[in-house]
């Protein structure tokens, strides 16, 4: 199912005035896609999910599921499944009771189950009762997320990762047409995190459910999402294919937000069609008007070359092995450091002078408002 925000604004009343959690959001999430919602803490990610789920309603604007206006539709009629930021497993119920909760409590889902059961009994000549059928569904889903051994335990008797998977099971057991995941991996250790996110990807592709995945871990988003949306203070900054957003940031914020090693930012100015920083001409030929600008370029897009443009004359001041890569910190001038990421440190040593250039098309210029005005 397609989800479309049409100029959606959500304001929360505060003691004094109000706070705009989501500001005029226009966003279309295509049917069957896994979309990542990214942004710093408090930027309105959870609020977006809550609006899709229906537990909170937009202050203005419209929300569409395909051609249906669901702006004010109550949550139980939406067919949405949601995994909460902190799971929200019912603490007094066992894992099994948690997973079957939506099946036994929702009238709509009951109806669907009955229809399915009728077909099942007709084709299989079986005489399964609804209760058994529910148990079968619960068990099938529990197997899918590999928690069938924990069915009789209470949530507090489970590890974070197991709770996580119970939460996912409870959500997918009712086969929602939209799946919402609010930072579902934030409580897991690094290995389980990677494992679970692949799992989510696998389940999502298998079922083809339209999925919105909130995270503030960009690596997670870049790895499994078909598309990502980056938000800041309630405003959508950029939406698109993860690699495209990474390579073609719309503004200074998205450029800085993405990237394992932070992007290099170098303040300078345009003067006579030249980009000048630290008293050196970095780019000789830039077709924009004179103004102060900031250049951005990613550490992994830098490489050593004697005669490229742009060209930086750098001094190595620090080298730091970081997993499979080496982060080389260099001095550009007294105020500015530039980082490079290299597969191996080759034969550099501290104090070396390097001539470095940026891969073609991978240097961005931002104006003083942070908008991207040029990319080369």
């Amino acid at each position: 199912m397609e989800v479309r925000f049409e100029s959606v604004t959500k304001k929360f009343p505060m003691k004094k005035g109000e706070i705009t959690a989501v500001n005029r959001l226009d966003l279309t999430i295509d049917s069957g896609k896994l979309v990542g919602l990214l942004g710093p803490s408090g930027c309105g990610k959870s609020t977006c999910l809550f609006m899709i789920a229906g537990v909170c309603q937009p202050t203005s604007g419209k929300l569409w599921f395909d051609d249906r206006d669901v702006t004010t539709l109550s949550p139980e009629k939406r067919g949405v499944g949601m995994v909460f930021q902190n799971y929200a497993l019912y603490p007094h119920l066992t894992v099994k009771q948690n997973i079957e909760f939506p099946l036994v409590n929702s009238k709509e889902i009951r109806k669907q189950l009955e229809t399915k059961l009728a077909i099942h009994n007709k084709t299989g000549n079986g005489k399964t009762k609804l209760k058994e059928f529910v148990q079968q569904e619960v068990l099938r889903t529990a197997r899918l997320v590999e928690i069938e051994d924990c069915l009789d335990r209470k949530p507090f008797e489970l590890s974070g990762g197991q709770q996580q998977r119970v939460a996912i099971a409870r959500t997918i057991v009712k086969q929602p047409s939209i799946l919402l995941l609010d930072e579902p991996l934030s409580n897991l250790d690094a290995r389980l995190r990677v494992q679970t996110r692949e799992e989510i990807r696998r389940i999502q592709q298998m079922t083809g459910i339209t999925t919105v995945f909130v995270t503030h871990d960009q690596e997670e988003a870049l790895n499994i999402c078909d598309e990502i949306a980056i938000m800041k203070k309630g405003i959508l900054q950029q939406f698109g294919n993860p690699q495209a957003v990474y390579d073609y940031p719309a503004n200074r914020f998205t450029a800085g937000f993405l990237g394992g090693t932070p992007i290099n930012m170098l303040d300078g100015e345009i003067s006579d069609g030249k980009f000048i920083a630290g008293g050196q001409v970095i780019l000789p030929d830039v077709p924009i008007a004179d103004q102060p600008v900031t250049a951005g370029f990613r550490p992994e897009n830098l490489y050593v070359s004697e005669n490229g443009t742009p060209r930086f004359n750098l001094e190595v001041v620090e080298m730091y092995r970081h997993g499979g890569i080496t982060v080389v910190t260099t001095k550009f001038d007294a105020d500015n450091a530039i980082r490079l990421v290299k597969e191996r440190s080759d034969n550099m040593t501290i104090g070396d002078r390097l001539m470095v250039t940026v891969a073609p098309g991978m240097l961005y210029l931002f104006d003083s408002n942070g908008a991207k005005i040029w990319q080369q």
Partner: protein
């Protein structure tokens, strides 16, 4: 590590704990255990004179007298009415009120304060105001009934009841009704506050998750809110039942220290505590204090047994984390 330490030196750890418990334990012995034992001993002394300490041997006579006493049976009935009719009613009313208060934002604090007022009002004073409200000739209730063309109801009236069982029953029912309304109002405040704070302690995400899962409001209450609130409910239930079993001031405030309307000489609305106090009567007369002690011990037994039962059954419906 911690476990190993314990193994090496289990006694000293325990001793420390006992040591810290000592002050509370001493107080418990002085003010609870000793008086209880003393009450039991006093209750079986015959013709006990409490100033001189003289008595004529031991006997369970007081217990038999009390159990056979019509007034005591009446006291038990009235106390049971408060504990098993008024308390559940006020519990349910308080829960519904708290749920409503919890679901509104505007005016919540104001209304909560309003509901809390009975708690800071003196029981006797409030009871007397109630008695005035229900006054036959000048009471507000009858005034309102009058607006609708109804005749004044003799709410607290004992006219002619000594000679007519029928009039007695009617008068009794009216008095129970007034006691019911009063208990409801008086008990509501603290319960509402407790339930409200309990409700606000429940993470709203459980409700939201259940809503997204398509659960009806009634099922959310039944399957999520109520179980999660059950420790609070259990606490409120146990403390209210104990308080109810000990009620005294409310009936005195409503019906005076003869426990009934003027014209009644059966102590119509007496409670068990009222019975204990009346038994004491002239405490210098021989045996009075023993009878009161016996009645007090019976009340203690009732409270202990009922509380134990509640704890036992609580396992079935209370969900502790």
């Amino acid at each position: 590590m911690a476990a190993m330490k314990r193994d090496r030196n289990p006694l000293s750890d325990d001793r420390k704990a006992y040591f810290y418990l000592l002050p509370a334990f001493v107080l418990l012995v002085i003010f609870t255990v000793y008086p209880v034992i003393n009450t039991i001993i006093t209750s079986v002394k015959l013709d006990y004179r409490f100033l001189t300490g003289v008595y004529n041997g031991f006997s369970f006579g007081h217990y038999l007298d009390i159990l056979r006493d019509k007034t005591f049976q009446r006291a038990c009935l009235n106390t049971a009415f408060i504990a098993f009719i008024c308390v559940p009613a006020s519990l349910i009313t308080a829960l519904v009120t708290a749920l409503l208060l919890n679901s509104i934002k505007a005016l919540r604090n104001f209304l909560t304060t309003l509901y809390y007022l009975p708690q800071v009002t003196n029981i006797i004073a409030a009871g007397m105001v109630f008695a005035l409200l229900f006054h036959t000739n000048s009471g507000f209730i009858n005034l309102v009934l009058g607006w609708f063309g109804m005749d004044p109801v003799p709410w607290i009236s004992g006219v002619g009841i000594a000679g007519s069982a029928d009039l007695y029953t009617r008068s009794y029912i009216r008095c129970l009704f007034i006691l019911f309304i009063y208990s409801l109002w008086q008990g509501l405040s603290l319960k509402v506050i407790l339930f409200l704070s309990g409700l606000q302690n429940i993470n709203p995400q459980y409700r939201q998750a259940a809503e997204i899962d398509g659960t009806s409001q009634w099922n959310i209450f039944r399957k999520i809110t109520f179980p999660l609130l059950s420790p609070v409910t259990m606490y409120v239930l146990i403390t209210s039942v104990i308080t109810a079993l000990k009620s005294y001031a409310s009936v005195v405030a409503l019906f005076g220290d003869s426990y009934g309307p003027i014209g009644d000489n059966s102590k119509m609305m007496i409670t068990i505590v009222g019975y204990i106090i009346d038994s004491l009567g002239d405490y210098l007369s021989p045996g009075a204090i023993s009878k009161a002690s016996a009645a007090a011990f019976i009340l203690l037994l009732i409270i202990v047994i009922l509380t134990a039962l509640q704890f036992y059954f609580s396992k079935k419906w209370v969900h502790y984390k």
